[in-house]
């Protein structure tokens, strides 16, 4: 039962991610022929909102280093996720093997 629970939760997460992709349709390009971007980051939207509320505000500091392109940005995000997922996988492997060995020892079978 536990196993099914976990599987169902993972499926729910996939559905939660897939649902918006299916629900939100890309609007037709505007008059200027500019593509409308959907699923932009909320950070960017907040930046525009700051501009709307306080048009006089000027950011007083700029990032020291920006990824040289969108692809490089994705690379770094992927590295970040891979580092984390890699470690969780390592722990899971260790933990499973340890549990297996403990069981084997208690029943006096070689693991």
């Amino acid at each position: 039962m536990k196993r099914y629970q976990n599987l169902l939760m993972v499926i729910a997460v996939v559905a939660l991610v897939a649902l918006p992709l299916w629900m939100i349709k890309k609007p037709a390009p505007g008059i200027a022929g500019k593509e409308v971007q959907i699923f932009a980051g909320t950070d960017d939207k907040a930046k525009n909102l700051v501009g709307a509320i306080s048009p006089d505000y000027k950011p007083w500091f700029t990032p020291l280093m920006e990824p040289p392109g969108g692809e490089i940005g994705s690379l770094l995000f992927a590295v970040q996720a891979a580092l984390g997922a890699g470690f969780i996988g390592y722990w899971y492997g260790c933990a499973r093997t340890r549990a297996k060995c403990e069981r084997a020892i208690s029943t006096a079978v070689k693991c």
Binding site: F39, I53, W60, A95
Partner: protein, 225 residues
């Protein structure tokens, strides 16, 4: 949830940094102490940090047509206490601020405050509160992690509204606008984070039962069940 580089007035940027510093310092102290006393918990600390790394790298689409990312701080907060997540969150935020121009150094203090302080403290408070009502382990973890995620983004909205009050409606009107961007987008993501936290917590409860019991996360009865 990251406030972009330079997008907080200098006084606010300094104020939030000053507010976050003691939490980070105490968090470092508490992690060091814990690892010295119980070196076997090092692996779990790694899992907690890794979980935050993964989740805060995943930008997910939301029903509002915007994308955002979860925070992953609830898991570690429930395991190691809220303070421990402040330095861990700082590492993640620094990585993104320096290498990805996502968030920023001037807004680091404010971002630490929302993601690595308010989120974890909310997670632990909610977890203890719902556990005291005898709600079972899974749903408690879910509520704690997802509400902590949501509250992080509510905090970000409040921080921005505080810095940029609406010329007509003041803080409240501005907060409503920022919350419409951040908090509403976050709702499905918060649910995802809650579910993923339960999945990892289930695995931890299965393979690291003695540690979790020692940390007062699960009770004896539940470990056996």
């Amino acid at each position: 949830m990251h406030i972009m580089e330079g997008f907080l007035p200098a006084t606010h940027a300094i104020g939030w940094s000053v507010a976050s510093t003691p939490f980070v310092a105490y968090g470092l102290y508490s992690i060091n102490k814990r690892i010295k006393e119980k070196p076997e918990q090092r692996m779990l600390l790694g899992v907690a940090a890794a979980f935050t790394f993964v989740l805060s790298a995943l930008k997910m689409p939301s029903v509002t047509g915007s994308s955002s990312h979860p925070t992953g701080t609830g898991l570690g907060a429930i395991l190691f206490g809220p303070a421990a997540m402040a330095p861990i969150g700082m590492v993640v935020l620094l990585f993104q601020a320096i290498l990805l121009a996502h968030g920023g150094l001037t807004t680091l203090g404010a971002n630490i405050f929302s993601m690595a302080i308010v989120g974890p403290f909310a997670a632990v408070t909610i977890f203890r509160l719902v556990r005291s009502t005898k709600l079972s382990f899974g749903p408690s973890v879910f509520l704690a992690a997802s509400l902590a995620d949501l509250l992080t983004y509510v905090t970000t909205s409040a921080q921005l509204a505080f810095a940029f009050p609406d010329p007509a409606g003041g803080f409240t009107a501005s907060f409503a606008k920022f919350a419409a961007v951040f908090a509403v987008t976050q709702i499905p993501l918060a649910i995802s984070e809650g579910l993923l936290t339960v999945v990892v917590m289930n695995a931890l409860a299965r393979f690291n039962a003695p540690e979790l019991q020692e940390m007062n996360v699960t009770t004896t009865l539940e470990v056996k069940a």
